[in-house]
């Protein structure tokens, strides 16, 4: 099934509605499937490509590199704060653990939490927004006011509150971050749904006796995929930043687990001692990871948004 079909199962063929050829190069793209068009558009975006490469490298660094680089990442010892050198390419931390190895460990945790949070956020936000937008009326009012109320509460307050009453675990962090991140997705999907529910094919399904749930499930949600996917990439980046913030504030995973924010926080204790290896690598990885997801998200948005595509 092409992406156009997946976006609208009732649509026959692969053409993208509203698109029209303009020039030979674009005409070539237009003749391809919507999927190929999207991919081409994505890969034409240099920043998107850079982001993708960065992400692949980060995935390799976090998940594959530990198989070839073995180090002490968990056991504390007395070789503390060693500068980069033989045996420890990026030195050791305040507990004598290898920083390079812990960066890999922290990368695994950051990416797992970020991606898992994005998935949960996307599911909840999409369902919430689609239902609110499609049903409208009192349902919409109640559901979106709940969103408004939750958005009005400072995120950091909710996060710190939850982290202080429960022992931080990966599952808790995923749940905590998801609990504050789905609101934006819900708003976006709801807005998209308001537009979609007035489309002819939705009306046609109604006329043919399709149930409202079927419309939401089969037609509304699939047609918000573009918005949802783009939002999901930003959510991953946001989740990693939240995780880093929590870790920096001392509310990250319990030791000896590693996360980049906690590593950064640990390094700050030695900021006057010139122990740069405790700060820069973790900070750089946070920046690169967030940047990669933002680049990918921007490129995906450009690629999936019909109005931004070349014609």
């Amino acid at each position: 099934m092409s992406i156009a079909e997946s976006l609208n199962p009732d649509l026959e063929g692969g053409a993208v509605a509203g698109a029209s050829p303009a020039g030979g190069e674009v005409a070539s793209a237009y003749t391809g499937s919507a999927w190929r068009l999207t991919m081409r558009s994505f890969f034409d975006n240099r920043l998107g490509l850079i982001g993708l490469v960065m992400l692949l490298l980060l995935l390799l660094f976090s998940f594959a590199a530990p198989f070839v680089y073995h180090s002490n990442t968990l056991v504390a010892n007395y070789s503390i704060n060693l500068p980069p050198g033989p045996g420890h390419p990026l030195g050791t931390d305040g507990n004598g653990r290898d920083i390079l190895g812990r960066l890999m460990l922290g990368g695994q945790i950051s990416l797992i939490i970020g991606i898992a949070s994005a998935i949960i956020t996307t599911i909840i936000g999409t369902l919430w927004g689609a239902i609110a937008g499609f049903f409208g009326g009192a349902v919409d009012t109640v559901m979106m006011r709940i969103v408004d109320v939750l958005l009005a509460i400072p995120t950091i307050f909710i996060l710190l509150y939850l982290q202080t009453i429960y022992h931080p675990t990966i599952a808790l962090l995923i749940g905590t971050i998801s609990s504050v991140s789905w609101l934006t997705a819900a708003r976006l999907v709801r807005g998209e749904t308001l537009s979609l529910r007035a489309r002819e094919y939705v009306k046609a399904v109604r006329v043919m006796g399709g149930s409202r749930w079927r419309i939401v499930y089969r037609h509304i949600i699939p047609n918000t995929i573009g918005v949802v996917v783009v939002q999901a990439t930003f959510t991953v980046a946001n989740a990693i930043l939240i995780l880093a913030t929590l870790g920096f504030l001392g509310f990250g995973l319990e030791p000896p687990a590693a996360d980049w924010g906690s590593m950064l926080s640990g390094g700050v204790n030695y900021i006057y001692d010139g122990y740069w290896w405790l700060i820069y690598p973790a900070g750089l990885l946070i920046v690169l990871t967030v940047l990669s997801f933002n680049f990918i998200g921007d490129a995906l948005r450009d690629a999936l948004e019909v109005r931004l595509q070349r014609r």
Partner: protein, 616 residues
């Protein structure tokens, strides 16, 4: 830095209780008085001095009859004492010992074969104009007698149980009749030292009542039920931090300072009490205590200069910055207190309490604390080991060989051996009880088959050395098959959690708590440990319950040869391990502005800003 400084410097850990006495030998501590080494300049009357509070250790209890959850240096020695003077002040400058000059009372007189104690008061006045009288001492005693279970320093059988009667024959004399003969030094240093006269203006049960006069009859404290009501009222007032500075209760003081403002975060601004009748009247016009959540936060302010902190500290992790701090206008010197360090284990925890009650388990845990390595690596040498409850520093005559030698040196193999020889076996990396029962080679009473050695340990946040120590312990424990789940909390969070409890109470779920500073012997200045290890004692946080310990402690109170009794006590405790001993770091590496003079670093951590002054 002088060699003397090098030998003493460092650390930021806080003792749970405030310090005091020691003995004559404890007076051997001599700290580098850098303040006096600076070139003299002209003395200024007035001005403001700011003092940095310990990380997360902000004052949060003002009433000087303190429960265990608030029994800390930052409340007693560095807050309450500025406003409410105890009967006896401890510390002579930087030397240990009782300071009768700065005390409200004259030296106690023991008679009747040490069964009668007579205390006479000097001329002190409250800020409401009333004189400090024997009635004020009686008021404190009445509240204590009726509310002893709420008092952190309560030791069953000791104060006030051992006082048969107390009376005030005149306005300046208090007579205590004891139930038997007691060692006068112990009674003075550990019993009379606890008393803080309270103003009769506090003898009421609501704010709407007018403040009573000392001459009033039938005041509520004179009956047990009334004393309970008064205590409840004052305790409730003490939990209302935002009203400290404005309260008609707390504004009645007899110390050199009174509160001008106070924030719930712990910023306290003091101004001189113009009615103060004691020696050393304040020269400063304002004294400010500043709260910090972490040592790094404090150091950032200190390092930025500008005079925001007159009296702060350098974290051990930032010792390399000593030169920078000195060039910013500070003298750097150590502050050593009379205490020992440990973390507490909860014998009443319904889950792991039975495991902690096994001596071999505690010995295994102690084998995993590498005190020499912790001192040299994490504390940069600015600490001494703790092998028993009797402190090694400052130098004193109390500690005998059992307190100076490590009975349980660091050894993972020894720890494992102790466990495996008592029915435990490694299963999936964690020691698991395979042989339940009470036999010599079995796990012990209350431990069932399949139970694992998994413990939760909460430690002080914001202090790097403590975090490093706990991470090292966690790793060593893991090597021995003991899983330690670490978490951190502020000083006040940790000491609140680590409260004596019964197994049936929800608050008894804590397992191990480390507030980083162990025990500072004050106001129990004679290190017999009754307050922390006697059964039912108010500060017996871990609920240690051992008849032998009680007998040995009691002997230190009454024996004719006090040192022999103390030796027997410390020898036993070093092996019984009622807590997990860890290195006792110096209280802090102080950074004192070169413009601030008159600072003496009291061995019991009492602050004396009334002696400080600024120079141009």
């Amino acid at each position: 830095m002088t060699s003397l400084e090098e030998s003493h410097t460092q650390t930021i850990t806080r003792k749970r209780a405030s310090a005091l006495v020691g003995t004559t030998a404890a007076a051997a501590m001599l700290l580098a008085a850098c303040g006096s080494s600076a070139p003299s300049t002209s003395k200024v009357t007035g001005g403001t001095a700011t003092f940095a509070e310990g990380p997360g250790a902000n004052p949060n209890y003002i009433f000087p009859l303190t429960p265990s959850t608030n029994f800390s240096v930052d409340n007693l020695a560095q807050f309450q004492i500025l406003m409410y003077r105890p009967l006896y002040f401890f510390g002579n400058g930087e030397a240990a010992g009782v300071n009768y000059t700065d005390s409200i009372a004259n030296p106690p007189v023991f008679s009747n074969n040490n069964k009668t104690v007579t205390v006479t008061l000097k001329h002190y006045v409250w800020s409401d104009g009333e004189q400090v009288t024997s009635r004020d001492v009686i008021f404190w005693m009445n509240l204590l007698k009726a509310n002893k279970a709420n008092w952190a320093a309560y030791v069953p059988g000791a104060f006030p149980d051992n006082v048969v009667s107390y009376s005030a024959p005149n306005a300046t004399t208090v007579v205590f009749q004891l139930n038997r003969s007691y060692n006068p030094t112990w009674f003075t240093y550990n019993e009379l030292s606890q008393i803080t006269p309270l103003p009769i203006a506090w003898d009421r049960t609501s704010l709407s009542q007018p403040a009573p006069k000392p001459t009033a009859a039938n005041l509520p404290d004179t009956t047990p039920s009334g004393a309970v009501a008064v205590y409840n009222f004052l305790n409730k007032q003490a939990t209302s931090l935002s009203t400290y500075a404005t309260s008609p209760i707390w504004s009645v003081v007899d110390g050199p300072w009174k509160l001008a403002s106070f924030t719930t975060e712990g910023k306290a601004v003091f101004v001189p009490n113009k009615s103060y009748a004691g020696p050393n009247k304040p020269l400063l016009s304002k004294f400010v205590e500043l709260p910090f959540t972490t040592e790094s936060a404090e150091f950032n302010v200190l390092r930025s200069g500008g005079g925001a902190i007159s009296y702060g500290y350098i974290p051990v992790t930032d010792l390399s910055q000593k030169g920078t701090i000195e060039s910013a206008g500070y003298n750097v010197t150590s502050w050593i207190d009379f205490g020992f360090n440990y973390w507490v284990i909860n014998f009443n925890n319904p889950t792991v309490g039975p495991i902690f009650k096994q001596t071999y388990v505690r010995q295994a845990l102690q084998h995993l604390v590498d005190q020499p390595a912790w001192i040299s690596t994490f504390l940069k040498g600015y600490a001494v080991p703790s092998y028993s409850p009797v402190p090694l520093a400052p130098a004193n005559s109390f500690a005998d060989s059992s307190s100076r030698n490590n009975v349980f040196p660091y050894s993972v193999s020894a720890a494992k051996s102790l466990l495996t020889s008592h029915g435990w076996k490694l299963v999936n990396g964690v020691m698991t009880c395979q042989s339940p029962g009470t036999g010599a080679t079995q796990c012990g009473a209350g431990i069932s088959s399949g139970e694992t050695l998994t413990f939760n340990l909460q430690y002080l946040s914001g202090v790097t050395a403590t975090q490093q120590e706990m991470a090292a312990f966690q790793s060593a424990a893991a090597s021995a098959g003991i899983r330690i789940n670490l978490s951190s909390g502020t000083f006040n969070q940790v000491i609140t959690n680590a409260a004596p409890c019964k197994p049936t109470q929800a608050s008894c779920s804590w397992q191990m708590e480390n507030w980083g500073g162990g025990w500072e012997y004050s106001p129990d200045n004679y290190p017999t440990g009754g307050e922390i290890f006697a059964t039912g004692a108010g500060s017996n946080f871990g609920n240690w319950n051992d008849p032998t310990t009680n007998t040995l402690i009691q002997a230190t109170h009454t024996a004719a040869n006090g040192q022999a009794a103390l030796n027997a006590y410390q020898n036993y405790m070093a092996r019984a391990l009622p807590v997990v001993f860890q290195p006792a770091a110096n209280y802090q590496i102080s950074a004192i502005s070169t413009k601030l003079r008159g600072v003496t670093q009291n061995a019991y951590l009492n602050l004396t800003p009334e002696q400080w002054y600024l120079v141009k």
